[in-house]
Every structure is written in structure tokens, then in C-alpha cells.
Amino acid sequence: MTSAIDTEHGRRTYSAHAHPLWRRLLVTRESAIIGLLFLVVLVATIAVPNFDSPLTLTFLIREIAPILLIALPMTLIIITEEIDLSVASIVGLSSVVTGLGVQAGWPLPFAAVVAILVGTVAGSINGALVTFVGLPSLAVTIGTLALFRGIAVGLLGTTAISDFPEFWTDLTRMNIPGTPMPLIIVPFLVLAIIFGVLLHFTPFGRSLYAIGLNKEAAAFSGINVGLTKFWLFVMSGAVSGYAGVYFTLLYNNARGDNATGLELQIIAAVLLGGVSIFGGRGALPGVIAGVLLIGTLSSALRLAGVTSDIINVITGVLLVASVVSASFLAWLRTKRVSAIGRKKGRAEASDG
């Protein structure tokens, strides 16, 4: 009976997407942030004295490299509707471990590997508490934020270790020969490609969006939600550990309070880059542009002689504006779509 109706009216076709491909690629939040970044660079180059010097790029990339690195796993975590607030504390812990290792006479690569391992273990503690104990990641990582920072400061006290092999500190600060681009960009690009492929081109990556949009539905589709999250926290810990080694060598300084407050800068950049704090939405190119946008803007404002408080205000306003505009647009869209739906419905009803 019902099948007969189908053949009578001809097969109904649905377009796979609401918009053509070019529009889906170009008119996105990500491209908007990238566009804004270019605009800021352009305006700063014209209006801010000294911004066009090659030093700007060197200092900028060097300084935001830890944020760039940790933003990668953070994006994946926030897409699954979780959060990791302990990353900066893991950076501090890893920094202290690197320092203690070098002080104990280990060669730096070995100390660095141990520090990254410590970071990985710290991440797996977060992951285990979220996955196997079933606690919300916000609560868990607020706890480990204090815990890891406490251990880091406890291990070194108020002292600092600052006698790292010159070869490694010089290497950390080196630029790619002939360019003003710091060498750290190479490991970052490698990690960015790995995380980009993982998120956007693998079943694992797709499952993150599914988890972020609806945990139960994802679980019923055969995704191991808990284990997926566990691995995300492990990755976050490992990358934070690496960032800690970089931070230590960059500033030639291992201290327990290194990178305090970095987690908020990372999360702010990720959200600015178009990742939804409610999960299920976001892409890596936008996040990278988000980090660069905040970094470039504050670098330009500093060069223009703006004080740190005003810079914080501007970054804050930008972030709030971007989040509010996203929610506002989404709200507007659903209203429009439902209005069209009602209109269509009425039209079809009168047809029949």
C-alpha cells in the first residue's frame, strides 16, 4: 500500500547538502576567523610601527608555540564536549621534571622523554578518572590542575633550575635558516597534520563529533565513548608534556609556576577558532587561526603601546563577541528554517 504511493509520485530526492560545495568550504566560521586574522595582520602592518619587522613573526611564533601545540588535543577534547583544565599544570610539571633530570646529570633528550612520559601519565590519570570512574572532566581537571601544579611547585619549591645545555636552548630558539620562522613550527606542523588527519579523515575523528553531539546515540552506534575520551586525555597530557620541555628550553628556566594560567589562553583560542563548548562542532584550521589571531592582536597592541589590561579587555570582548555571534546566528537560522518548514508544510497541505 505505502510502496505504491512512492512509485506513483516518483522517487523523492533529497540534496545531500543544503548548500553547494564552494559555499560550504568558504562560508564557515573557520574561514571567517582566518579572514579576520588576515585583516588584523594587514591593518597592523599599515598602522602599527615596527609590526612589519621580521622579529615580530619570530617572537610571536616562539611565544604562542605552547598554545598552538596544546590547542590541537584541546580541540579534540572540546569537540567531544569535555574539557582539560590541567594542561598548564602538566606543562609546569613537565618543566620541573626536565629541570630535575638535567640537574641529576641526565642527557637532555632523556630528561625530555621522561618529562613527556610524566605528562602522558598525568593525562592518563585525567582520562582514567573521566572514563573509568565516570566523573565529569570539568571537575576532574580542576582537581588535577591544582594537584599537578602542587606537585610541580612541591618538587622544586621556589627555586629554579636554569643550567640547561646551550646546544638545546639555542636549538629551541633557532629559526629555520634564512627565514624569521622559529624551528618549533616544524614539530608543530607535524603534530597539526597528525591531529588534522585524525580529526577530519578517520572514523575515530568522526566519532568525536558523534560523541559531542549525542553521547547516547554515539554509544548505541557502536562507539566506545569512554575509551575514546581516555585516549584524548592521554594525547593532551603527552602534548602538554612536550610543550613543557619546549617552554623550559625556550626560557632556559625550570620552575614549578611556569605557564600558570596558560590553560585559559588555550581554551579561549580554541573557542575563538569556532569550536563549540557544547561539543560536536569545530575544525582544526579555525583553531590554529584562532590562536594566531589572539597572538597577533596582542602582539600588535603591545607594539602600539597598549597596556596589558586593555589588551585583556580587547581579547575578552573579541571572544565574547565571537561566541555570542555564533549562538545568535544559530538561533536565527533555526528560526528561519522552522519558519520555512511551516510555510512549506502549509503549501503542501493546501496542494493535497
Binding site: R23, V27, R29, A32, G35, L36, L39, V40, V43, A44, A47, V48, P49, N50, S53, L55, T56, F59, E63, A160, S162, T169, R173, F247, Y251, N252, N253, R255, D257, N258, A259, T260, G261, L297, S298, S299, A300, L301, R302, L303, A304, G305, V306, T307, S308, D309, I310, N312, I314, V317, L318, A321, S322, S325, A326, F328, L329, L332, R333, R336
Partner: protein, 350 residues
């Protein structure tokens, strides 16, 4: 179609806000970020010297006072002055401001270091592009800067505290010291020198105990109470730490010993104001941050113009403070600690 428009509108809004901020500030600062103007001729002409001051953090009354001093010096000399700084005093938060100063090509940078090592490489980079680096208040490793403006020497601090307490108690009787923690390097060095000075020049003064308040307000308060109970004959307390002296003063103020037992040491005017005004404390010492900033600015200008190189024995003129000589390790000493009492405490706000 409409989604397209709306999106552009929302993003456009953010873009306009961000770039407007940038353009406005960029234009506003065009004037004062002139090209650094370091005339290396040694002419002593300071009118085009640009100096950037980088305290540990902004919004700190102590550094507001030192910046005020530096600003006054620059306005006397001519030249441009700017204060920049992070909102928190974390070890690496100053690095970006040092880099910015290097990019702007300022003539001189005056820094109070949050960490002696973490900002070293940034300072070296700044110096390699011709920025003269002067530290004040908190030094970096000596090889990272051109000059350090030292607020006080250990000898000076020990001397002024002994002078103050012996004067207040009439040079005889029992005194005690309320220090920070038992392993605080600075305090221990001062206490040792104070003991030597007491022994040498004040035979009738007896140091009965060194108590440790751990730089904790409550502990210091309790230790003060314990000292006064243990030694009923106690005539004076010296507390060479700002936390200790404030806690001791608070105890004395409410106790029967107010006015009977003298209290002095190192404190800040804002902490000690009410105790000086009600007579609990007659006088205490510290250095004057305004003078420190003033001297740092003159020293920086002298470096920028090539009048001095930071070598031992170099002399330069520091406005109303007079003439100064560079000491060992490229250090300039501000002078004897500054004594605050009821007559002058009103002039200070830090």
C-alpha cells in the same frame, strides 16, 4: 542566502571591533614610539632618549611609586617615557614586553626582574639590537644587563635598623628580632651584621632572642605575643621583614605594651601608616622607590647617550640626587636606606 548575509554581518562586527581598536591605538602611539633615538656620540644630549620601564607587574603601588620617580627624571631630561608590564608577576610574563621594546628600538629598558634567569635571553636579544638594559629592585644574572640599580646594601640595612632601635630604647636594655623564616638568606645576613654591630658599638644592648614568624601574618603576630610574655624587660623589637613588622605593630597596638616597647625594622608606608600615626611605631626604614626609579632613569639615559658604559668607576649626574659612581659588578647603589617617620610618611603611597 540569508545565512550567508547574517554570517558576514556577525563576523564583520567582530572584525570592525578588532581592527578599530588596532587602528586607533596604532595611530595614537605613532608619536611616542619614535625610532628609539639613541645618539651614540656620547654627547650627553638626552632630549631624544626613549626609555621604557618594565616593572614586575602593573597595578602595584610600590612600582607605581618607582615609575613616578623615573617619569619625573625623564621629564627633567627631556625624551620619551613609557611604562609597560604584565598584569601578573609570573616568571616569563615580562618576556613579550622586552621583545616588544626590542622591536620598537627603544633606547633604554628599565626592568625589575620577576625571575633572574627566565628573561635573560630576551634581554640579551634586546641588547644585541642596541637597547641598554638597566635592572632595578630585582636584578637578573649580571651578564644579562648593563647596569643594576641596587636599592640598599646588606650593611646599610643592618646599620639603619641598629641605629633606629638603639636610639629608640636609649641605647640600653633587651631587644629581640622577629625575622622571616629561619633559612631566609637576606634576613640571616642582616641579622648577623646587626649582631656584630650591636656587639661592637652598643655594649649595653642585649639581643635576647631571634624569633621566626615565617613571613606569615598570624605566626608573626603569635611570636610577638610570645616574645613579650617571655621577656617582661624587653624594650624593643626589630623586624627586618615587612610582614613581621606589620604583624608586630598590630599586636603592640592592642596590647598594654603600646608605647612601652619600641618597634622598628623594614616596612612599607601604607602598611605602617596607622601605627606611626597612633605612636605605636616611631620610625622604620626601607628605601624610597621613587628615588630608585629616578636614579634608574638617569643611569639609563647616561648609558644611552654613551656618557657611561657601565664600567666600574664611571660617574654620572642624577638630577636632584646628585652624582653617582658605578661600583663593582656594574652596580649603582642608591644610598642609605630611607627612614620613614610621622613627619614624612604622608608623602608616600606604596
Amino acid at each position: 542566502m540569508f545565512t550567508l548575509k547574517r554570517k558576514r554581518f556577525g563576523v564583520g562586527l567582530a572584525a570592525v571591533a578588532a581592527t578599530a581598536a588596532l587602528v586607533l591605538t596604532g595611530c595614537a602611539s605613532d608619536g611616542d614610539t619614535s625610532d628609539g633615538g639613541s645618539s651614540d656620540g656620547g654627547s650627553g644630549d638626552t632630549s631624544d632618549v626613549s626609555i621604557t620601564m618594565l616593572p614586575k607587574n602593573l597595578g602595584n603601588p610600590y612600582f607605581d611609586t618607582s615609575t613616578g620617580g623615573a617619569e619625573e627624571a625623564v621629564s627633567e631630561m627631556g625624551g620619551t617615557f613609557e611604562e609597560v608590564g604584565p598584569s601578573e608577576a609570573s616568571p616569563t610574563s615580562q618576556v613579550q614586553y622586552i621583545q616588544t621594546a626590542a622591536q620598537q628600538g627603544v633606547g633604554g629598558l628599565i626592568v625589575s626582574a620577576n625571575d633572574p634567569e627566565a628573561i635573560c635571553d630576551a634581554l640579551d636579544e634586546a641588547r644585541s639590537v642596541g637597547v641598554k638594559v638597566v635592572t632595578f629592585d630585582s636584578d637578573t644574572n649580571p651578564e644579562c644587563r648593563d647596569l643594576f640599580i641596587n636599592q640598599a646594601t646588606a650593611e646599610g640595612i643592618a646599620q639603619v635598623q641598629v641605629d633606629l632601635i638603639t636610639e629608640q630604647i636609649g641605647d640600653e636594655g633587651q631587644i629581640a628580632i622577629l625575622s622571616a623564616s629561619a633559612n631566609a638568606t637576606n634576613q640571616n645576613a642582616w641579622i648577623e651584621m646587626m649582631e656584630a654591630e650591636l656587639e661592637a658599638n652598643h655594649p649595653d644592648v642585649e639581643l635576647v632572642e631571634v624569633a621566626y614568624g615565617d613571613d606569615d601574618d598570624q605566626t608573626s603576630f603569635d611570636k610577638t605575643a610570645a616574645l613579650l610574655q617571655t621577656y617582661p624587660e624587653l624594650k624593643g623589637i626589630v623586624s627586618p621583614t615587612t610582614v613581621g613588622i606589620a604583624a608586630a605593630a598590630r599586636y603592640l597596638q592592642t596590647s598594654e605594651f603600646q608605647g612601652e616597647v619600641s618597634l622598628t625594622g623594614l616596612g612599607t608606608p601604607n602598611q605602617m601608616r596607622e601605627y606611626v600615626e597612633d605612636g605605636t611605631v616611631t620610625a622604620f626604614a626601607l628605601w624610597n622607590p621613587a628615588d630608585l626609579g629616578y636614579l634608574a632613569a638617569y643611569a639609563t639615559a647616561a648609558l644611552v647617550t654613551g656618557e657611561i658604559t657601565g664600567a666600574e668607576g664611571d660617574t654620572f649626574d642624577a638630577g636632584t640626587l646628585g652624582s653617582y659612581e658605578v661600583g663593582a659588578d656594574a652596580t649603582v647603589l642608591l644610598g642609605d636606606p630611607y627612614v620613614f617617620d610621622a613627619d614624612n610618611i604622608g608623602d608616600f603611597d606604596f
